[in-house]
């Protein structure tokens, strides 16, 4: 069995990071091409949050108390940061289903048998999903403006702050797609991945400051809501957009929402990327 060791070594790529980036882009490009071939998927991804905007604005609008008012116009301005944040997190289901589909179709086996960077299949997926999230968010912002959402309605803001808000939303969305990647690798079918990717998001997005004023919740629920990673981004966006409903609270994430949002998102990426890549490699050599 000496033959194994005394053979000429095959040259490894000079730059593993460069290879990783390149492979990820190849996979991202593939997923983006798929997106153009299945436009209905992108379309449904946009219709759902638009529906939420319309329903919440007109159905709940008059009965929600924000601060000391039930003025529907105030609720509208309050609501949008919550809807935006919920929308970016719902991208989780898409990533989960996409990965599960690749596993089921045997594409992941094909990729695993190629001399490519190990994390690239997952990174390529999450990057493509980020592009889709950005498109959805853009359409949603336009719809929000049409129904009457205005930045700077409660406090003054600037273009830079508004862009920073959207950047935080995209980062949160990107972080959540890594949770989706892990779910996609852990379930048997794309159908299971879709529901598994979304069910838990309902408590996460509803036990938060997204749709109601969390300071009016019972204390224990309020604590959960205020430390919910999701709430930090919503609070940060309200602050940056100059919208009403910024929660006054002792909780650190509510006092420093921009930092909290950044830290939470980076932490989620670090943890779930590690777990997902490890899972991707687990059975293989």
């Amino acid at each position: 069995m000496s033959a194994a060791t005394d053979t000429t070594p095959v040259t490894a790529p000079a730059n593993p990071i460069g290879q990783s980036v390149r492979d990820s882009l190849v996979i991202a490009r593939r997923n983006l091409i798929r997106m153009t071939r299945i436009p209905e998927m992108v379309l449904f991804g946009i219709i759902q949050p638009v529906m939420f905007v319309v329903l919440f604005t007109y159905v709940f609008g008059g009965s929600m108390k924000i601060g000391n008012t039930t003025d529907p116009d105030v609720y509208k301005d309050f609501l949008m940061a919550g809807i935006f944040a919920q929308t970016v997190t719902f991208a989780t289901a898409g990533s989960a289903a996409g990965i599960a589909d690749d596993m089921q179709k045997g594409l992941v086996d094909r990729f695993r048998s190629l001399p490519m960077a190990r994390g690239a299949v997952l990174t390529g997926r999450t990057v493509a999903d980020l592009v889709q999230t950005a498109i959805t968010l853009l359409v949603l912002a336009i719809v929000a403006l049409i129904v009457g959402w205005r930045t700077g309605s409660a406090d003054p803001t600037s273009v830079g702050e508004i862009l920073a808000g959207f950047a935080l939303l995209l980062l949160l969305g990107y972080a959540f797609t890594w949770i989706g990647a892990l779910i996609g690798l852990s379930v048997r079918t794309p159908e299971a991945a879709t529901s598994g990717g979304i069910i838990w998001l309902f408590p996460v997005t509803f036990i938060s400051n997204a749709f109601v004023d969390s300071s009016q919740m019972t204390p224990w629920l309020r604590h959960i809501a205020e430390w919910n990673p999701f709430s930090a981004t919503v609070q940060a966006c309200r602050e940056l957009f100059g919208n009403p409903g910024v929660v006054q609270s002792d909780a650190w994430p509510m006092q420093h929402p921009v930092w909290a949002s950044l830290i939470w998102s980076v932490l989620i990426i670090a943890i779930f990327r590690t777990l997902a890549v490890r899972k991707y490699r687990s059975a293989a050599i």
Binding site: A4, V10, I33, K105, S113, A284
Partner: protein
């Protein structure tokens, strides 16, 4: 000097299922080994271990001179894998699929593009090159999958049941492609449950059952092991069967089997062509009109039956096979 594909004592268990129970393989460079066995025999698990997709519990594997367990990524550069299920992206065109695979083999964009065009032409897919593969027929998809495995012209190829589910015409076509490939010097390990396929394509055959290689050799050697020629007669008139049976009994070295509905009689013999001529003469003398007569050497089906005690198709009926169980458990284990 071990061959281009070498395995020693490969063991892989999934829970209670011993998918591989000490598999040894040695495929000399430029030859084809047919891994023959029913569903669930462990063929797919063996291929997955050799192609770095699955870590064996124990054993040794060397592919293209590289230790699979120590340098998996180097092995990946030297192999092409064509799976049981055509693993191409159904929403990408044939061309896009091949370019993507080329780039992931670390080819430059332009080189990947040129190679894709070359392969599409070679596999008669140029006309469909810019259509999503979703619109391809089963045979076309299989050809594309094979093309994807050949992007870097790897010295060693693995094909896991390459023609399962294909109609006879497409199967023939794919066989031709595989033969050309091997003529070009590629070493190939091919799994199949079609005995005819192993007979047709493989230089050597390893018969696998319950995770172990239970016999190996050339197709002729395996047939010789099973032993025995037979004379097979199909009579024209049903009422001649009794007489024919009598005649055959006179020449046979064992019991005559009679299939009423096909009017076919089979009897084991020794004596080859000379004896066959005598049988024909005797049937003629008795005035028995025959539709068909021949000297049959054992098929690989017979080989399989005599080696395993069950026919190859038996395991085919359900999905509760070891390989399937293995695959499921592998997914479980990955959690």
């Amino acid at each position: 000097m071990p061959g281009a594909i070498y395995a020693e004592g490969l063991v892989k268990t999934f829970g209670d299922v011993r998918a591989l129970d000490g598999v040894d393989l040695d495929v000399p460079e430029g030859t084809v080994l047919g891994l023959l066995g029913p569903n669930g025999a462990g063929k797919t698990t063996a291929v997955r271990c050799l192609t770095t997709l699955l870590r064996p519990d124990s054993g040794k594997a060397v592919v293209a001179g590289i230790d699979v367990l120590r340098q998996p990524n180097e092995v990946r550069r030297s192999i092409g894998l064509s799976g049981q299920f055509a693993a191409v992206d159904e929403y990408l065109t044939g061309r896009e699929n091949l370019q993507m695979v080329g780039q992931l083999y670390q080819m430059k964009g332009r080189a990947a593009k040129a190679r894709a065009a070359e392969l599409l032409d070679q596999f008669h897919l140029s006309d469909a090159a810019d259509r999503p593969t979703k619109t391809y027929s089963g045979g076309m998809r299989r050809r594309l999958d094979l093309a994807a495995a050949l992007v870097v012209s790897p010295p060693v190829m693995f094909m896991d049941e390459p023609t399962t589910g294909l109609d006879p015409r497409n199967r023939q076509e794919l066989w031709e492609v595989i033969k050309r490939l091997v003529a070009g010097g590629t070493t190939l390990l091919l799994t199949t449950q079609y005995l005819e396929e192993a007979d047709h394509l493989a230089h050597d055959i390893a018969v696998v059952d319950h995770g172990r290689v239970i016999a190996r050799g050339t197709s002729d050697q395996l047939k010789a092991r099973t032993g025995g020629e037979r004379v097979e007669v199909v009579v024209h008139e049903r009422h001649h069967m009794a007489t024919a049976s009598e005649v055959l009994a006179g020449f046979g070295k064992g019991a005559t089997t009679v299939e009423e509905h096909t009017r076919k009689l089979t009897v084991p013999v020794t004596g080859g062509a000379k004896l066959l001529a005598e049988v024909i003469r005797e049937l003629d003398v008795r005035g028995i009109e025959i539709d068909d007569i021949g000297l049959r050497r054992p098929t690989l089906d017979d080989v399989f039956l005599s080696l395993t005690g069950h026919v190859a198709e038996v395991a085919d009926e359900g999905n509760g096979s070891a390989d399937d169980a293995a695959h499921e458990q592998e997914k479980e284990a990955a959690k």
